[in-house]
Assembly symmetry: C2
């Protein structure tokens, strides 16, 4: 409860500073960060409305008992039979939000939740959470950092299990299952297990499938799970036998980009400087057009959250922020190569969460 | 492709009939139904815009190659460095949507996707998909029905595996793992595995946890998975040894409610008549206040989708619709009891997808 009180006070201060009258959160990561839990979310309208002086839920009746076990905040209930209109009116009145002129909308909530609320506030402007709860969430406290480290250690173990299991003839799905099993044995829920073999690796968000792993494949393995609430995310490379032509050169370039980004990462710089460092290194090597995405993303409650390391981001980085550094080079019809580490900012630089080397894992294959 | 062409034509006809100029879909079930696939969705703006004469994607550049493998629809790309504004403008112009006066919004997309689009269309009205793609999705074709039946058969097997594994001393989580293992072995992805023992069962959406199953517990088991794209959903009851006091009476009432709803289910009635039948039966037995939720929900691409069997729904049911019938009675601090079958409407009635009896599974426990 102490944590909820503290975070709620910080959130209200950020609403004041930014001239917002109300914030509306759906079931999701913002609510989770604030309250330490989130109710079951489905298509039924469920909102937490917060103003300077009020706070309350629009709550589907059938979630009320379960939610009450985690929170004693006021809940305005609605049943499937009556629908949510009256409960929304009651909540807006109770929190003093009926005349709100500028409202912060949880950008990840369902579109109908946001539009149903905004339709009640004609003329009200809306903004997303970047300068309020989004900003607060970027800085991690000691407990959050410890949980992220534990989750990263499990992700390392899952990667090592994948390396140990790798052999020609298995499918991408087979390898993904080895990884998921490692997560499950540790009591973690899998978030994603991207295995991209050979040409598939050239698609950054390849959908892992029935492609059979073959001798000579370079394989992108990008995996993450949620352990005790904390997500993980790591990408490493493996090759089956001899690497494909040109592999070692590209690996060295991407590794150089990771190191360049880590070298500049410290409080006070802007997020785009991380991207500039990695992208500049890859561009200087002549592969700029094959680095298709931003250099990184924050991670904390979600596996992708602010700050984002993009070419245009002016976000000033601060001590306690946690984010990925994950440059890549994607060569169509040949292979893709990405190396990803999660780092956190200390007073004078950054430290990695993972303890795994970024060297390619070479799996020996009999001739 | 033939299916995409057919569904797109039906969707455009529904836009005309309802006076809508454009529909906007995010990555999600509507898009999946229409195109047979959905691109990876995250916080990057990804929209499919469709008008009478145009269709095109606002597409993050790093999803483009992967999406192109599944679709040859026009894609307007944006990179992390430049942001989505220009691509959105281009897409609106290309599909002829810049002057749209009424837009159908995919209610399940992210709030920022919807608001970013609507901010470009000042004065445009928005509606959700109920009378357009939502209506089309409710009626299942033969291939969809066959896939749902296969998925239901697997759900039956998972339930039987749970019954076989049940014993005092295991936790709710342990039992959920048995169920998930059954899904995984069949190549299905788990959707939910709710196990609510004793008093936990009185929360319809209980979060399965570390509660230890004990002799005398009535246990709600509500599980579903996705097999070859098709979801499943079933709820059955088990008791460990002797049932708790009053159990048999309540089971008979809920079973009666299921049968009452099935007896009225046929094309031409309104959805609320299903709810009326089940709720009326439970109310007549004196337990109306303990039936906390609607009687059912559609299932097809999603595990919860229209039509919803609520007290107020005027949706007219048609042949080919598939939905759950799942009345329940929830007695605080005692137990919850829900029985759920998925049915599909035939010309003159309904048939179940499951072949499992709804009788309680009594697990013998040594004295």
């Amino acid at each position: 409860m102490a944590q909820v009180t503290e975070r709620l006070a910080a959130l209200r201060a950020s609403l004041r500073e930014t001239g917002n009258d109300m914030i509306a959160l759906g079931p999701g990561p913002h609510m989770h960060w604030l309250l330490g839990f989130e109710p079951h979310g489905d298509e039924r309208l469920l909102l937490l409305l917060i103003t300077e002086t009020g706070i309350g839920f629009v709550m589907p009746a059938l979630e009320a008992d379960s939610a009450s076990q985690h929170s004693d905040l006021p809940m305005h209930l609605w049943s499937d039979a009556e629908g949510p209109d009256k409960a929304l009116t009651q909540t807006l009145e109770a929190v003093g939000g009926t005349a709100a002129k500028q409202v912060v909308i949880d950008e990840g909530m369902r579109a109908d939740f946001a539009l149903t609320l905004l339709d009640r506030l004609p003329g009200a402007a809306h903004v997303f959470t970047e300068s309020t709860i989004g900003r607060l969430r970027m800085k991690k406290d000691a407990a959050e950092l410890a949980a992220l480290k534990e989750s990263a250690a499990l992700d390392d173990r899952a990667m090592q299990a994948a390396f140990a299991a790798l052999k020609p003839g298995m499918t991408e799905d087979d390898l993904a299952q080895v990884i998921r099993d490692t997560f499950a044995e540790a009591g973690a829920g899998p978030l994603f297990t991207i295995v991209g073999a050979g040409g598939n690796g050239a698609f950054p968000h390849h959908q892992t499938g029935k492609t059979v792993l073959q001798r000579g494949d370079a394989i992108v393995i990008d995996i993450g799970a949620r352990l005790n609430g904390a997500p993980s995310d790591i990408t490493r490379m493996a090759v089956l036998g001899e690497p494909p032509e040109g592999y070692d050169e590209i690996h060295a370039i991407v590794e150089g980009a990771v190191q360049a980004a880590m070298a500049v990462a410290r409080p006070g710089i802007r997020a785009h400087e991380i991207d500039d460092a990695a992208r500049g290194h890859i561009a200087a090597a002549g592969y700029g057009e094959y680095f298709l995405h931003r250099t990184g993303h924050g991670l904390g409650v979600e596996v992708h959250e602010p700050p984002y390391m993009t070419a245009s981001s002016q976000t000033v980085l601060e001590e306690g922020m946690v984010f990925s550094i994950e440059p890549g080079i994607y060569l169509p019809d040949r292979f893709g190569l990405r190396l990803e580490d999660i780092v956190y900012l200390t007073a004078d630089g950054c430290e990695r969460l993972s303890e795994l080397s970024r060297d390619v894992a070479v799996v020996e294959v009999a001739q």
